[in-house]
């Protein structure tokens, strides 16, 4: 049984590594300016975690194979160096490993969260509610009109609770069900929740951020590749959570301008 078990561990460890080495299931190609650092960090972590995983499983299997059911007269031995060597190894090797991951990981994180958007970033607001996203563009005046929660009404399609009769800033706001952005243009995404906790996740953009009810948060990113991508909610928000999604269309500047014009005409 011991030998069968040892072989099973080895087979499972190798079988577990194959899909990783063959890139069978991986994140799609990155389309953001900040994503490369995250992807590099992921690869390095995978290498370190993978080696640790395989080494630990192999050693475990070898020792099970070698030391199970010995002859009755076999003598007990201790691993040379004892616990001291192992503790030092853990502190030095794993300590260095996690320090390196921590420092480089911090850089990748800082790149996304510690730098403010540039002044030329294009503001887009996203509002999450059970179970849809709505997007708002500020229009020619460059300013979003205020939200009046008491005016929110899905029936009249006033998704943002805008008072276009009284608020001058709201009059030219453009509200859409899909998100379009120009390629290679920095976007300043202002995130507002209408009701509960939701999240904004676009795999290709390497972006995931929760909406916090009662607290507007913001993100900034630049998409580098034209295409259509899915935005999904990752924060459990109720029975329709699985179905809460929208599309992000990354377009050339000209296509975006004409798209925005068309949307404005439909308001």
């Amino acid at each position: 049984m011991a030998k069968f078990f040892a072989v099973t561990i080895i087979v499972i460890a190798i079988a577990s590594a194959i899909p990783i080495l063959r890139h069978t299931w991986v994140a799609p190609e990155d389309i953001s300016t900040h994503g490369a650092l995250i992807d590099d960090q992921m690869s390095e972590t995978m290498a370190e975690a993978g080696i640790s995983f395989l080494a630990a499983q192999f050693v475990l299997a070898i020792f099970i194979w070698q030391f199970s059911n010995p002859r009755p007269d076999a003598k007990i031995k201790n691993f040379p160096g004892g616990a001291k060597g192992l503790v030092i190894a853990a502190f030095v090797l794993v300590g260095a490993e996690v320090l390196a991951l921590g420092i480089f990981g911090a850089k990748a994180w800082a790149d996304v969260y510690f730098t403010p958007p540039t002044a030329s970033a294009m503001p887009v607001q996203v509002q999450a509610g059970q179970f849809a996203f709505y997007f708002r563009y500020p229009g020619p005046d460059g300013t979003f009109g205020p939200i009046h929660p008491e005016l929110i009404n899905e029936g009249t399609q006033n998704f943002y609770g805008l008072d276009t009769d009284h608020d001058a800033d709201s009059k030219d706001d453009i509200v859409t069900a899909e998100m379009a952005i120009p390629v290679n243009k920095e976007i300043h995404l202002l995130m507002h929740s209408k009701d509960l906790g939701h999240s904004f996740y676009v795999r290709e953009l390497r972006v995931q951020q929760d909406f916090v009810p009662g607290l507007d948060v913001s993100l900034h990113f630049t998409a580098t590749k034209v295409g259509k991508y899915e935005i999904v909610c990752t924060q459990l928000c109720g029975l329709g959570h699985y179905n809460m999604k929208a599309y992000l269309e990354v377009m050339s500047q000209e296509d975006f301008d004409s798209w925005l014009k068309k949307e404005q005409a439909m308001q």
Binding site: V59, N69, V98, P149, E154, Y201, L215, H241, K245
Partner: protein, 594 residues
């Protein structure tokens, strides 16, 4: 090293059935009651996971009989999206609280901690009895949610606000379902606090003569460290649950901010904080991971040593490392909240301790693994599950490298990668600890030996099955498969459905394998081969009881006196290659740690 147990906890042997088997003050009976509760809970939790897995593989499949549980939730046996979430919430809550906390800590700890320290019982037997019965009531309050109103909460075991705090307007089960959930968990917290209040003085004050702290077996250390964590972690979760209930029934707004509009209705709340719930919950939630796993670490160490016939390379280092895990576990909880909207600077502050917790974890794994070197390893069901625990803990542990880093968490947060990670490192590893403890201690608890052939089959199915289920979870997460979805309608998720189907088949087979254990347990209890007092040739005090199972006061007329370190194996004594802690025999002990 006090000899006060005889005075502190003496209570007479009960004579009536009710006082002997139901409202018993005996820690051993209470331990068995906790075990039975955990077994029932595990069975329910497992059946729920089967139903969830079938739904995830084949969304429109009718599950025979499910409509009997809920006509609206599963018309014709086909699960609705909301009912999937309700079953998922119940699965997570039942498993985390009533299985992973209850079995390794409350069940085995209650039964064996007083015996391993050499005491007659715990210092506060009435509190101990109350601890079980409050937990028992808490369990049925939770189960009651299946049968009231529109069913259990759909908010997941984490019950994030404001989904959990605004009431029925948020969805099915978000009214009475949440109130029952929060009541159940608050009761559970009371039970665990009462338990911790007993475990700590049992360890500190009721040790037998000669039993220094360093002479405590590693399993006793595991329970002691866990009870210290429980005392602080549950003390935070309980008030959080009470505040959540108040948001429902008293018009408060602890967790609900102003201006929320649900179903076009402006909600009558103002001034609360949604992140407050997350902070309170995870301040409990992360130590809870270690509350589930540290007793398993202790049990596995204890079982391995008896089967290696030699002590660990260092008793002290293992104890210090488990202690370090406990302390660090309070400093890392924010890694659950990297993308929550918490200040991004906090993320880094939580990231470094999370990465640092890898060091004591690695030390523990290295000590276990390299202690096998030069051992005389006995392979049996208990040692197989203990070795499987190491493999599983490593597999689930290395994925923690990823989730400890906020930058990578951007991609992996809320995906199946997280689900794979915690199921392996906290769920299955802890379950393996429970199984290992069961095969090891069952003879002492019942006087009968479990069937080894069935135990080995159970292990093989569980070990291979677990990898087949939870390794693919990691791959799904890397591809961006979001968790807590009742179906996969996003374009990019649909190609992943075949992987879900593979996992479902693996889960059903692995689950069926657990029925072998259940059969073995029940059959052995009544018809198993009789066990001797010390079938594994162990050294600690549970193997020195005058009878098997131990008598009412554990040690008969005289409390034991301890003369040796806990794991004196690999020596030459009159009994063989070991000397028991309570033996007066003097042997050349090469393993005393200075």
């Amino acid at each position: 090293m006090h000899d006060m147990s005889a005075h502190a906890v003496q209570h007479h042997q009960p004579t009536t059935f009710i006082r002997k088997h139901v409202f018993s003050l005996d820690h051993k009976v209470i331990g068995k009651q906790y075990y039975a509760l955990a077994l029932l809970a595990a069975l329910i939790g497992m059946v729920l996971s089967w139903m969830m897995r079938i739904h995830l593989g084949w969304t429109n499949a009718a599950i025979p009989g499910l409509q009997l549980l809920s006509k609206n939730g599963a018309p014709g046996g086909v699960m609705t999206p909301e009912y999937y979430l309700q079953l998922m919430t119940m699965h997570g809550t039942i498993m985390v609280f009533f299985v992973l906390t209850t079995a390794p800590f409350a069940a085995f700890g209650n039964y064996f901690l007083p015996i391993q320290v050499g005491a007659e019982d715990m210092p506060f037997p009435h509190f101990n009895m109350m601890s079980f019965w409050v937990t028992f009531v808490g369990f049925w309050v939770l189960i009651a949610a299946f049968f009231v109103g529109d069913g259990p909460s759909l908010g997941g075991w984490t019950q994030y606000a404001p989904l959990s705090a605004v009431g029925p307007v948020a969805g099915p089960g978000e009214g009475m379902g949440v109130i029952l959930w929060a009541t159940s968990i608050a009761l559970f917290c009371v039970g665990q606090l009462l338990g911790a209040l007993n475990f700590i003085p049992t360890t500190l004050d009721l040790r037998a003569k000669g039993m220094s702290m360093m002479r405590l077996p590693l399993s006793a250390w595991g329970w002691f460290i866990t009870s210290c964590m429980g005392l602080t972690a549950f003390a935070v979760l309980m008030p959080a649950c009470i505040l959540l209930i108040l948001d429902h029934v008293a018009g408060t707004s602890f967790f609900v901010p102003s201006n929320l509009v649900i179903n076009d209705q402006l909600q009558p709340h103002s001034g609360g904080s949604t992140l407050l719930w997350q902070h309170l919950f995870w301040f409990f939630g992360h130590p809870e991971v270690y509350i589930a796993i540290v007793p398993g670490m202790g049990i596995v160490s204890h079982v391995l040593i008896a089967n290696m016939r030699k002590p660990m390379l260092s008793h002290r280092v293992l104890i210090y490392s488990m202690g370090a895990l406990a302390v660090l576990s309070y400093m890392v909880y924010g890694h659950h909240m990297f993308v929550s909207g918490m200040n991004p600077f906090s993320s880094l502050a939580f990231s470094f301790p999370t990465l640092a917790i890898t060091i004591p974890s690695t030390i523990i794994v290295l000590i276990w693994t390299f202690s096998l070197y030069g051992s005389k390893l006995r392979i049996n069901s208990a040692s197989l599950f203990a070795l499987g625990f190491i493999s599983m803990f490593v597999a689930g542990g290395v994925s923690g490298f990823f989730l400890a880093q906020p930058s990578i968490d951007i991609m992996l947060h809320a995906t199946y990668f997280v689900v794979g990670h915690f199921h392996m490192v906290m769920g299955v590893a802890a379950m393996f600890g429970i199984f290992s403890g069961t095969y090891f201690w069952f003879p002492k608890m019942t006087g009968r030996m479990m069937n080894e052939t069935l135990g080995t089959i159970h292990f093989v199915i569980s070990f291979i099955g677990t990898y087949c289920i939870f390794m693919p979870f990691h791959y799904l997460g890397m591809a961006g498969n979001v968790r807590r979805y009742s179906a996969f309608v996003a374009d990019y998720l649909q190609p992943l459905i075949p992987v879900h189907r593979f996992i479902t088949v693996a889960a059903l087979i692995t689950g069926a394998g657990q029925l072998i254990f259940l059969y073995n347990l029940i059959h052995t209890r009544f018809w198993g081969a009789p066990a001797t007092d010390n079938p594994w040739e162990g050294t600690s005090l549970e193997w020195s009881t005058p009878t098997t199972p131990p008598p009412h006061n554990n040690f008969g007329d005289h409390l034991p006196v301890v003369y040796h370190d806990p794991y004196q194996y690999g020596v030459k004594s009159s009994t063989g290659d070991y000397v028991m802690q309570a033996s007066q025999e003097q042997v050349a002990t090469v393993n005393e740690e200075k």
